[in-house]
């Protein structure tokens, strides 16, 4: 059985393009394990409930399978239902969307499953038919930039064409069916000869950005602006979900350097600037779900995990009224179900690991930390 490890996508600079209808961010984020649908399975750790909207407290600790229409990897994908994600989903269900957008921040120590909770929430939004604006890792935008162009729009800012094009491609794949429906309200002029008229669809704008690499960052900015303006309008029929992973990158420091070796402030990057505008809750008709992440963050101590530490003063002030959701380590039940899942998938090959003592050893060594547990079982 071929299996993908849960890839440390934060460290991957490029996003894999997957020919799937759903958000390709899932490819990197899922613990892709094979599941042949068992029609009559009475397993404790699995639930048949495929729709995140129907998940409730009694499904906590169980794995649910994403349908292959949504997610095409080697085999099917499973996500564990956990309390923090359920909490946010319940808020999303009950929120009033005529009010300004609510901000949810998942935080926790390293490896507890913040990103997976984000994915679960995004899946919920997708199944509800929202337009998902998903940034897999904001840290990628502030480090290891290969090309930096001075922006055509504003001379003090810098463009990142590569990152912008990759993001646009993913956005296109993710929200395929939304693109023809949304019409632009303004006219955007790219060069002397090229411009996008008001009234043309979002799809065209995105195509423009993908084909014309130089102006892709501005296209991104335009897309974000359009969506922000349109989502709150009474005439719009969609809700906007902004999901950003590693949101502390937007207000942190960056490692990109200008030609004269001075560091670029994240504010001077077009992508970051536009994303920050989105993060402000001056628009309505949607929700902002974010995650803090220390793993990819720059110049942050390893022990920092609270929002205040990671966001910094500026970040905290701009994100200020947000709903923090803490993501803890596995509980007993969750650990149990994960263990059973690995056993079921034959992931634990070592005979000792299948015994009771082996289980106790595993608990001791990983201390209920999901990522640590996964890494441990990876070579068992």
């Amino acid at each position: 059985i071929m299996s993908l490890h849960r890839l440390a996508f934060r460290l991957r600079p490029t996003v894999i393009q997957v020919r799937s209808l759903h958000s390709s961010g899932y490819v990197q984020q899922q613990e892709a394990v094979a599941v042949e649908p068992e029609p009559e399975s009475v397993s404790v750790f699995r639930t048949h409930e495929k729709d995140p909207a129907c998940h409730s407290d009694k499904h906590v600790g169980q794995f649910y399978t994403l349908s292959s229409a949504h997610m095409k990897t080697f085999n099917e994908t499973c996500i564990m239902v956990r309390q923090p994600a359920l909490e946010v989903i319940s808020y999303l269900k009950k929120a009033d969307y005529s009010q300004p957008a609510l901000r949810y921040v998942f935080y926790g120590v390293k490896g507890t499953g913040k990103t997976m909770s984000l994915c679960h929430t995004v899946h919920f939004c997708y199944t509800q038919g929202w337009l998902v604006l998903h940034v897999p890792d904001a840290h990628l935008w502030v480090k290891n930039c290969k090309e930096l162009l001075p922006s055509s729009y504003k001379s003090s800012r810098f463009d990142q064409p590569l990152e912008a094009t990759t993001w646009l491609r993913n956005f296109k794949i993710t929200n395929e069916h939304f693109l023809p429906r949304i019409k632009l309200k303004e006219r955007y002029v790219w060069t002397k000869r090229e411009s996008t008229e008001a009234g043309s669809s979002l799809g065209e704008l995105v195509d423009q950005g993908i084909s014309r690499v130089k102006s892709s960052s501005d296209v991104v900015g335009a897309v974000m602006k359009e969506l922000r303006l349109q989502s709150g309008q009474p005439g719009s029929d969609f809700r906007l979900a902004v999901a950003v992973d590693g949101v502390n990158a937007l207000w942190g420091r960056s490692t990109i350097k200008k030609e004269d070796k001075t560091t670029v402030d994240p504010e001077e990057l077009t992508l970051v600037y536009n994303l920050r505008k989105l993060m402000k809750n001056d628009w309505s008709g949607g929700a902002i779900v974010t995650t803090l992440s220390q793993t990819g963050s720059l110049y942050c101590p390893k022990s920092a995990y609270l929002p205040q530490d990671l966001l910094g003063e500026r970040g905290f002030d701009s994100m200020d009224p947000f709903i923090p959701v803490s993501v803890p380590n596995y509980s007993e039940k969750e650990f149990e179900s994960c263990y059973l899942y690995y056993m079921d998938r034959n992931w634990l090959q070592h005979p000792q690991s299948r015994t009771e003592e082996g289980k106790k050893e595993l608990i001791f060594l990983c201390n209920m930390n999901p990522s640590m547990f996964e890494r441990l079982c990876g070579y068992l």
């Binding site: 120590v109 390893k302 022990s303 003592e357 106790k360 050893e361 608990i363 001791f364 060594l365 990983c366 201390n367 930390n369 640590m372 441990l376």
Partner: protein
């Protein structure tokens, strides 16, 4: 015990302000006479006589003396001689004794390394053992004089010193050419006498009763008078009875007419063959006894076996030491086989004493571990504390019997403190070994060292703390698993002339 002031090397040299105790005792220490003459006495009076004009090099413990091949641990301070013949050797108003004299003193007291036994022959080699005895006697007399008598004998003793220590003949002769050293009975006896006298002197020096001065007292006093920082215990100064120091040697085996005493002398291995002869005689005796019993009809149906207990046969080395002659391994096997044959016989209990003479008890592997006491805290939860060390880290652990399986290290989660799996595995090992993984709560604190040594220190501490929750046998199992053994490995020092502890500088041909 007299109240001896602490011996510091600088005590008498405070007036001079110079330090002679740099370990690179070399040409730097040799100074010319005249303006740089060093006065060695606290009252700053000029040095008396030839003895003290030249500052003497006192080598560090364990260095090689330049004059003889004796590798003596020389005293790292200056031993003084009384003016008035007090026994109190360590108070003020002393004069300096030369380093050679100190060595001679040591020789007189037989304060030598056990490793030096084989190098005593240089003394005796210039002469027959008689001469050795003479020189030893001289040294002994030197000792007596030096300790108790007036300085009038000093020039004499100096000469004697020189003869012993600095003869050119010593340099020329080849040590390897001589066979194993031979000590005559008189020589050994002389050594014993001098040892006794030296013991009494030592007792007087330390202010204790000469009559009841035991070997432990001697060891203690020597360790006090000649403090040594050497790691190797056998390299430190020791003073033991000559019987323990000189290897046992056989007396002359033949009479004045050349006729050997023992009937088996011409076999070459007379003690061994006589032992085998004796043993076989006993076997025959037992068989004869058995035949007699059978004839009378009193043959015991349940043969009474010799209670061997936890004993083992003598090893080959021990047998050689017993017989004072070398034996080959085939001889040894023959001996063991014959002994075993004796044991198989039903009536062998007749020879119990003989058999037990040739067996040794196995050392009881008892647990020397001090089990930390099990305490109860306010909530009624049992807990115990223990400490452990490894390299330079020190760790202490409080093990509570709560049943949660949580660990805290220095207040942090152990997953964050020990991010490497290997360290966590080290912590897990004692608990896993005893099968108590989920049962205890551990509260650890650790400092010093690196990540691996901190993990090792905590592991030792956890194993020790767990002892109080376990039975004796489980504790023994832990000991055998090596969980309770402190790891003695420390960083080896870097030596001069080399780049590291073992690594030498790159060798360049030119």
């Amino acid at each position: 015990m007299i109240n001896v002031p602490p011996l510091t090397p600088h005590r008498e040299l405070e007036t001079t302000g110079r330090n002679y105790f740099s370990w690179r005792a070399g040409s730097r220490l040799w100074r010319k006479n005249g303006a740089n003459t060093v006065y060695h006495r606290p009252d700053d009076s000029p040095p008396r006589g030839k003895l003290t004009t030249r500052p003497y090099r006192l080598a560090r413990a364990g260095s090689r003396c330049p004059f003889t091949l004796i590798n003596l641990p020389v005293i790292p301070f200056q031993l003084y001689q009384t003016k008035q013949g007090n026994n109190n050797i360590l108070t003020d108003k002393f004069t300096l004794i030369s380093a050679r004299k100190v060595r001679a003193l040591a020789l007189g007291h037989k304060i030598i390394c056990s490793g030096d036994v084989h190098q005593l022959p240089p003394l005796t080699r210039l002469s027959s053992p008689k001469m050795a005895a003479n020189s030893a006697r001289v040294v002994g007399s030197l000792l007596r004089k030096s300790v108790n008598f007036v300085s009038s004998t000093r020039p004499v003793t100096l000469q004697f010193c020189r003869r012993i220590c600095g003869t050119p003949a010593l340099h020329r002769k080849n040590l390897g050419a001589t066979g194993p050293e031979k000590f005559t009975a008189e020589f050994i006896q002389k050594q014993v006498e001098e040892f006794e006298i030296g013991k009494r002197h030592l007792a007087n020096m330390m202010g204790e009763d000469p009559e009841n001065f035991t070997q432990e007292d001697i060891d203690r006093s020597i360790a006090y008078l000649f403090p040594s920082g050497l790691f190797e215990k056998s390299a430190r100064p020791l003073m033991k009875h000559p019987v323990e120091i000189f290897p046992k040697q056989r007396a002359v085996q033949w009479g004045p007419d050349g006729r050997p005493f023992h009937f088996l002398f011409y076999t070459g291995k007379q003690s061994y063959y006589s032992l085998m002869h004796d043993l076989y005689g006993r076997v025959l005796k037992v068989e004869k006894h058995q035949d007699q019993l059978r004839a009378k009809g009193l043959f015991p149906t349940e043969p009474k076996q010799i209670a061997l207990g936890t004993s083992r046969w003598l090893t080959k080395e021990e047998l050689e030491a017993l017989l004072v002659e070398p034996i080959s391994s085939q001889d040894y096997e023959c001996f063991i086989q014959l002994m075993e044959r004796l044991l198989t016989m039903p009536c062998c209990s007749l020879e119990q004493q003989f058999v037990m003479n040739h067996r040794r008890q196995l050392e009881a592997q008892s647990m020397h571990q001090v089990v930390p006491p099990l305490q109860k805290d306010d909530a009624g939860v049992d807990f115990s504390t223990a400490e452990g060390r490894r390299k330079t880290s020190k760790g202490s652990v409080v093990v509570r019997d709560c049943g949660a399986g949580r660990l805290t290290v220095n207040g942090q989660d152990y997953l964050h403190y020990f991010s490497v799996l290997q360290d966590r595995e080290q912590l897990m090992f004692p608990l896993q070994f005893c099968g108590l993984l989920g049962r205890f709560d551990l509260d650890c604190s650790v400092s010093g060292g690196g990540r691996s040594s901190q993990a090792g220190a905590l592991r030792l501490a956890i194993s020790r703390a767990l002892l109080s929750f376990l039975s004796q046998s489980e504790g023994e199992a832990m000991r055998q698993a090596g969980l309770l053994t402190p790891d003695p490995r420390v960083r080896e020092r870097k030596k001069p002339g080399q780049e590291g502890a073992r690594r030498k500088f790159t060798w360049k041909k030119r």
